[in-house]
Every structure is written in C-alpha cells, then in structure tokens.
Symmetry: C2
Subunit: 233 residues, 2 copies
DNA sequence: ATGAATCAAGAGCACTGCTCTCGTTTTGGA
DNA sequence: TCCAAAACGAGAGCAGTGCTCTTGATTCAT
C-alpha cells in the first residue's frame, strides 16, 4: 500500500542481506561487520540499524535464508526421482546436501557449525530448518511401505519412546521406532561426513573429497534401507 | 639451566593458557580476548605478546592441549577393556569421546566446529590430533584379526586406493580397504552424532541426549564390527 | 497543510588485536 | 666481577568493531 518508502525499504533490506552474505562467505560468519556493509553501501553504519536492530538479527535472516536454500535443494533433488526408488532418492538428497554445502561452506558453517555464543536461534528458524528433515522422513515412509529395513537394527531405548511418538506426530509419519532411529542415525552420519569434509578434518587424509562422500553416502543409504550396493564407478 | 626467568616464564605461559581456556568456555572461542586475559592477570595487554606472538598462536596452544586431552581419554578408556573385546572397546572409546565433549563443549567446538577464518592449523596439531584416530585403528586391527567384518560392506572407490595405502603406512596397520573405509564411516558418524548433540541440533528433538548417544554408538559399532546387539537398558 | 513517523548522518563510548617505544631487570660471557 | 645483550612490563597509539544518542531532513497519513 504505502508506496515509495516501503519499496525502498524492502530493496535496502535485500541489499543488506546480500552484501552480508557475500561478507560471510569471504570473511567468515564471525567477522561479519555492519560497518563494512554500511561502507560498501555508502551509508552511515548507524543507518543499518533502521533495518536490522542488531547483528544477531541480521545473522538470523541469513540463517533462515540458508535453511530454505538447503531444504529447497533437497526437495528438488528428491523430486527428480521415481517415488519408489528409495535408494536413488537417498543418494540424490544426500548429494544435494553435500553439493549445497561445498558450494556454500560459510552458510553451512552458519547452520551446522559452532553456534555463536550468546546467540539463541529464534523460533523463526525451526520451520525452514525442518524442510530438509521432512524430505528424509518421506524416504523413511516409502521404505517402510516397501518393507525395506535397516541392515543392522537399532536398539531404541525405552527412554526415548515419548520423543519418538512426538516426532512421529510432528512429521506426520507412522514408521516404527527402530526405523525412525535408524533414520536419525543416517541423518547424523550424513552431516557428520559433510562436516568433516567442509571443516577440513580430512584435509591431509583424503584427497578426493567428492568420491569419499559418494562412498559414504552409498554406504549409509544401504545401512538404512538394506539396498544392494551401487556398481563401482 | 637458566633459573628464575625461565621458570617464571613457564608459569606465566601456563597461567595465560589456563585463563584463555576459561575464557573460551564462558565467552566462546571467537570472543577470546587477549586484553581481557591481561586485565585478569594484572598486566598490560602488550606484555602478553612476549609469550604468544598472536592470538592465533594462543589458540593453537589450546587446540593442542584439547586434542591431547581427548586422545588421552580415549586411550585410557580403551585400556580398561580386554584386548579381544572389540565391541566393548568401541563403546568405551566412543563414550569417552562423548563424555569429554559434553564436559568441554567449548574445546570440542575448537577442534570439530567451524574453523576460525584465516586460521590454518599448524603442523604441531597433527600429532595430538592423531591420538584419537590411532585408537580407532587399533580397534580395526583387532577386529580384522578376529575376522569380524562390517555388516554392510562399503564400495571403496579405486580413486582412493592411494590414500588408503598411505594411511595404512601412517597408522601401521594392514586392514583391507573395505574395513578401513567402514572404520572411517564409523569415525565420521561418531563425531557427527556428537556434533549434533553438542551444537544443539537435537535440542527440541531429543530430550535425553545421553541415551540417544548410547543407542547410536551401539548401532554404529555393530555396523562396523557386526557384533550382536547390546541388551536393552 | 500539518503533525507524526521515518530516515540518514555524525559524534561518541567502550571494546578489540596489534605495534612501537621506553625504561627496567635479568642473564651469560669475558 | 662487570657489562653488553637479551628479555621484559608498561603505556601510548592505530585502525577497527558493535552499538547508542542526537540532530536535522524527508516522507507519510490525516
């Protein structure tokens, strides 16, 4: 409604987040500087505070944007596969996560790295953060429907039955406890592998990171879905 | 030889690292402040530079110390088990890592979290960093000797044969490619689980983190060593 | 048209890592 | 034992940070 001013405001906020994001990429999330952004935009540093009331608020905007990108990438990758091909879908989704992480390591660190001390993720982030995991739950559902099962069954502790029940409701699924826990193990293993690669833990250990990730993703997938091994590349 | 001065220097360096470590715990690694350390010690900020020529050098000292703690914890846990009980040793070692991480989350973040931008880990760190992984290789060795095998076999890519050969030499082991890759998968999965817990990714997902970790560690161990499931707790 | 809301700018506060200088203290060799 | 050299602590200073407050201009809704 209110014309000019609102539009200019939206444009400026977008420009700020864009520059902030570029800065996170080159300087790292910890070195995000409002003053540098202001300098690049040719405005006073204090003016930025009209748009983001603190550095953390700007960080939150970046986090939400990144979660959405990761989620969208996973959804798109999943959508390219036939619904019944669980293992293909897993490989597509996990590669999408890995691909997004390697293309945006700084943003990945923002989501899965060391949390900024004193920064508590506001509730706005949990929606976007769920998009990726919902894709995984969709895989578990399909595997369950086909009778696929984990190669090694977890021993789901009774102490976490309530959690599992609550999660089932939140994600609208009906898979059993063991399958759910196996899925969560695949989830943590997937991001453990990505984190090791992105954060440089394998730097003088493995030379071809892409191949290594491919091997692990294939292995994890077969562990959860008890599918046959992919042919050697 | 040189008496007083050298001793006082050693004491001061120790005091600096101790305060620095406390500060990393309370303020986070990114907010480590040389000035605050100097203030707490009652000396000028510039005097600190007589002991550590930069902030990064101080960080390196903390990293080395932490790697050594983690490695020592793993070695100690491993030593409490009978050599032949691979699964017990795996559980002991993985729990040692998890226990150290929960007791020292800030230091864990220093080692496995987002790398500080512009900071390249100097070669001094690779020795201490290897201590933990060498324990894991010991497990692989013993499993190999007993004929234990991964439940789901990885498809080790030919592209990484050279890496595996080099790693075998470095770690003085003879386990085959598939077993080695399976071990690395367990390695990344272990720290993936710990990272998710420490970094808060499971905060509104799982209530009892300890139990959850126990379930995952048991599952990962049986995946690598094809051991029977532990009894329900 | 006018009062209210919004905005950019600048100065300023308290903080950071780091450098350089200056006067003091300790050290090791002649 | 004496003395130059090395090591040291303190302080000032530079360039940078997030953030606040005030001031004056611009746009908005009535």
């Amino acid at each position: 409604m209110t014309g000019l001013r609102a539009r200019v405001r939206a444009e400026l906020t977008a420009e700020i987040t864009a520059i902030a994001r570029r800065q996170v990429v080159t300087e790292g999330a910890g070195n995000l500087s409002l003053r540098a952004i202001a300098r690049e935009m040719g405005m006073a540093s204090s003016a930025i505070y009209r748009y983001f009331s603190s550095r953390d608020e700007l960080l939150t905007a970046l986090i939400v944007e990144s979660y959405n990108e990761l989620g969208a990438a996973a959804e798109a990758a999943d959508a390219t596969c036939a619904r019944s091909e669980v293992m293909q879908r897993w490989l597509a989704v996990s590669r999408a996560a890995y691909g997004w992480a390697t293309a945006n390591p700084a943003e990945y660190a923002l989501l899965f790295g060391t949390p900024v001390p004193g920064y508590a993720a506001p509730p706005d982030t949990i929606g976007p953060a769920s998009r990726f995991t919902l894709v995984l739950v969709g895989l578990l559902d399909e595997a369950d429907r086909q009778g696929l099962d984990a190669a090694v069954k977890p021993v789901a502790d009774p102490a976490m039955h309530d959690d599992l029940e609550r999660l089932r409701e939140m994600t609208a699924t009906t898979v059993g406890n063991d399958a759910f826990v196996a899925g969560m193990q695949a989830w943590t293993a997937l991001f453990g592998a990505i984190s090791f690669i992105i954060f440089g833990q394998l730097n003088n250990v493995i030379t071809d990171h892409d191949e290594f990730f491919g091997v692990l993703a294939d292995l994890i997938g077969r562990q959860v879905f008890a599918a046959p091994a992919r042919p050697r590349s």
